[in-house]
């Protein structure tokens, strides 16, 4: 955290620069999403686009955290709080996402929702 007046003055320039970077990367995200010759991967939206978009967003978010929120110059305890929050949020997302990708299979029919179509022939656990 900038303490003295000189440091604050210096930091102001940095803030402007970071702000500009954020604007630029926002434009880049939109361009990647809307302009056809910048459309990586398959035509239209796909995993590649999602990855690029989220990477740019993550980069922008780290700029905000590090510079605007002064995390680049902060006490380790603050890191601890924040990282704990992020770790928990990550567990929440990751495990929840994982849970449904690993359903109990009933033959070929997944009935992890509690619903399966009784009109389809039931198969035994070996898929016969």
């Amino acid at each position: 955290m900038a303490g003295s007046i000189e440091e604050v003055k210096k930091a102001k320039k940095l803030y402007l620069f970071i702000g500009t970077l954020l604007f630029v990367f926002t434009v880049v995200t939109v361009m990647v999403a809307t302009i056809e010759w910048l459309d990586f991967g398959e035509h239209g939206f796909d995993g590649v686009d999602a990855t690029i978009g989220l990477c740019i967003a993550a980069f922008k978010a780290s700029l905000v955290m590090l510079i605007f929120m002064h995390l680049n110059n902060e006490r380790p305890m603050i890191y601890f709080f924040y990282i704990l929050g992020i770790v928990m949020a990550f567990f929440c997302m990751w495990l929840i996402g994982l849970s449904k990708s690993d359903p109990i299979e009933y033959g070929n029919e997944s009935y992890s929702d509690g619903f399966y179509d009784p009109s389809k022939p039931a198969t035994d656990v070996h898929g016969n």
Binding site: P76, L84, C92, D102, I104
Partner: protein, 629 residues
């Protein structure tokens, strides 16, 4: 040191108006007591609902006796009885509200908010919480949330009725016939929940900040009483686990009020209206369960840790020897807190999660028993070789150990996927967690009440009434909860409103094995119901005790009546606004009992060492490290 709280505060001796002193107070002690009284009232109400339910289980065809039914007859707005009998729907409603009230409105506020508020700032030598106004807001938001939930008993729809876990799609559909959804009990529950979560977020931010920032001089991390450690971890649990449930609560609120389908799958059909439901579908009930249990499991430790914390304070004080394994207990509680975030799906083995994810959660669940066992073992070993004073708090604390032990050990089979498939949603589960919460946690909290009552009021609680409270409670608790384990293993389902009567088979043996098993075990219901009513009766001595001891109890003769070592006993009795009459400084660890190099058998944290004491104790060193990891 003087017992008069006003000595130090002559300079601002302006008298607060009574409503500011007792109602809108920003003093952590008043707020703690407010929390305690409100939570106590909610506990009694939740207990009352439970007795009604137990009556229905044991005597499903008999009208409720008048002393139970008075609040719910047709003469009042809460018309939930049918010819004086409890119906299935009413049972569901009471069951849902019993769980909700006990967990969210009773035990958490009592343990974390009441004890935490009263004791934590005193133990760390702080004048108040870091954000006193936030503290007050936290209490009033909590009370509003609680009242919103309970008020719904008197609405057309009745209170929430989809279990305390409020699973969708049931919870998304119940009470849908109510035109104005904000007047439906099921919606009120969610609104109340969002208020409660907001309250506990405010509270937990306050607690953690207070513990980090407002520790007295020399109170380094490893000199913190275990109580404060437990509160710190609890604070973090509430802080990080509650928000996903708040998200889920908001989503379910949207489902109910604006008709979205967050948790409503495609293809739902409503039997009551005879048509497909008018929703878009594609939501997932599983998502709700995940978000709920992401809070739900840490919540178990939010319930538990304050009770363990109280017991951990009381045991060294009454055995007159240090807490055994203080450091390992601290690390255990920290690890316990962390692990508690990644065990939640063991509540969901039956939802169709696959083997990979089940194995993950099974492993972490078994792992978390390690720190729990360390905590309990350390406290048991602390008794070893101590000259135990069987004071009232110590008796409760001593009973806590085996009772919580039973609760914990009966949990092990539930951690394993295969065993859980059989036991899920049976009375075994009910027995297990009630052993943890009722004779476990509540005994721990009772011990806390008896322990700190002299500090709060300047008078001891009566011993005879204490014993009259303790022994019957201990017996009744076991008679109430142990048969549940038996019934549960026999397959009794937890949501039978008539105790399983519909399943009884009187016919030939071997035809309907389950029916015969039910017939064998169903008579246990009457024992349990009788015990529950007796248990209620034997809480009266406690209530009487609290009341009469406030006026006529034996007065304390010093500010430190138990000869304890932690800082809260250095304050005047009861502590005034601002707590301390001197600037507290800490010279040693929290449990310095029976030190051979000291004349008395306790060496308080705040007592300045004698001049000829070893040099290292003279230094009043604020901690140098800046991080807690």
């Amino acid at each position: 040191m003087s017992a008069d709280p006003h000595d130090q505060h002559d300079e601002h001796h302006h008298v607060l108006p009574w409503w500011k002193k007792y109602f809108f107070s920003t003093d952590h002690k008043t707020i703690g007591i407010q929390y305690g009284l409100a939570a106590g009232a909610f506990l009694l109400f939740g207990f009352f609902l439970m007795i009604v339910m137990r009556w229905s289980i044991a005597y499903p065809h008999e009208p409720l006796p008048g002393y139970m039914s008075w609040m719910f007859t047709d003469g009042w707005k809460a018309r939930w009885l049918d010819d004086g009998k409890v119906t299935g729907e009413t049972y569901n409603m009471f069951g849902a509200m019993h769980g909700t009230i006990m967990v969210f409105l009773g035990v958490v506020p009592l343990g974390f908010a009441a004890f935490g508020n009263y004791v934590t700032p005193l133990q760390i030598g702080a004048p108040d919480m870091a954000f006193p106004k936030l503290n007050m807001a936290s209490f009033w938001v909590y009370l509003a949330g609680g009242l919103v939930m309970c008020m719904s008993f008197f609405m057309e729809s009745g209170a929430a009725k989809s279990g305390w876990t409020n699973y969708s799609p049931l919870a998304g559909y119940a009470d849908k016939q109510i035109v104005n959804q904000f007047l439906a009990g099921q919606t009120q529950w969610l609104i109340g929940l969002v208020l409660l979560i907001t309250s506990s977020l405010l509270g937990s931010v306050n607690f953690v900040t207070t513990i980090i920032q407002l520790r007295a001089k020399g109170l380094t991390w490893m000199r913190l009483p275990f109580f404060v450690w437990a509160m710190l971890v609890t604070g973090f649990l509430l802080l990080l686990a509650f928000p996903p449930l708040e998200a889920a609560g908001i989503m379910q609120l949207m489902d109910r009020v604006v008709g979205s389908s967050f948790f409503m799958p495609s293809g739902l059909y409503s039997a009551s209206s005879g048509a497909a439901m008018d929703i878009s579908g594609s939501g997932s009930p599983l998502l709700y369960q995940h978000l709920f249990w992401f809070l739900g499991h840490p919540e178990v430790y939010v319930l538990l840790l304050p009770a363990i914390a109280c017991v951990a304070e009381i045991i060294p004080c009454n055995t007159r020897k240090p807490l055994w394994g203080y450091k390992s207990m601290v690390w255990s509680v920290v690890i316990l807190g962390f692990l508690s975030f990644i065990v939640w799906a063991h509540h969901m083995y039956l939802t169709g999660m696959g083997p990979v994810i089940s194995t993950f959660f099974q492993t972490t669940t078994v792992l978390i028993s390690v720190p729990s066992v360390i905590l309990l073992t350390s406290m048991i070993i602390s008794l070893w070789g101590g000259s135990i004073r069987f004071t009232m708090p110590m008796i409760w604390a001593a009973a806590f150990l085996p009772m919580f032990g039973i609760g914990g050990l009966t949990g092990l089979p539930l951690a394993f996927n295969l065993a859980d498939l059989h036991l899920h949603d049976t009375y075994y589960v009910i027995g297990h967690f009630h052993y943890v919460v009722a004779p476990g946690i509540l005994f721990g909290l009772f011990s806390g009440v008896y322990h700190w009552y002299p500090k709060m009021t300047g008078r001891f609680m009566d011993n005879f009434l204490g014993h009259l409270h303790f022994w019957p409670s201990l017996v009744c608790m076991n008679l109430l909860f142990f048969p549940m384990l038996t019934q549960g293993m026999a397959g009794f389902h937890r949501r039978w409103y008539n105790g399983g009567e519909g399943y009884i088979e009187k016919g030939v043996e071997g035809v309907n094995v389950f029916g015969i098993t039910v017939a064998e075990k169903i008579s246990l219901n009457e024992i349990m119901t009788g015990s529950a009513i007796a248990l209620a009766v034997f809480q009266l001595p406690f209530l009487v005790n609290m009341f009469i001891s406030y006026f006529w109890g034996k007065k304390v003769t010093s500010d430190n009546p138990w000869d304890a070592t932690t800082l809260e006993w250095a304050t005047p009795t009861p502590p005034g606004h601002g707590n301390f009459t001197f600037d507290p400084a800490i010279y040693r660890g929290p449990y310095e009992y029976s030190r051979p190099d000291h004349d008395s058998d306790f060496f308080p944290q705040w007592e300045e060492p004698k001049r000829d004491a070893p040099a290292k104790e003279v230094e009043v060193e604020p901690e140098k490290t800046t991080t807690m990891v």
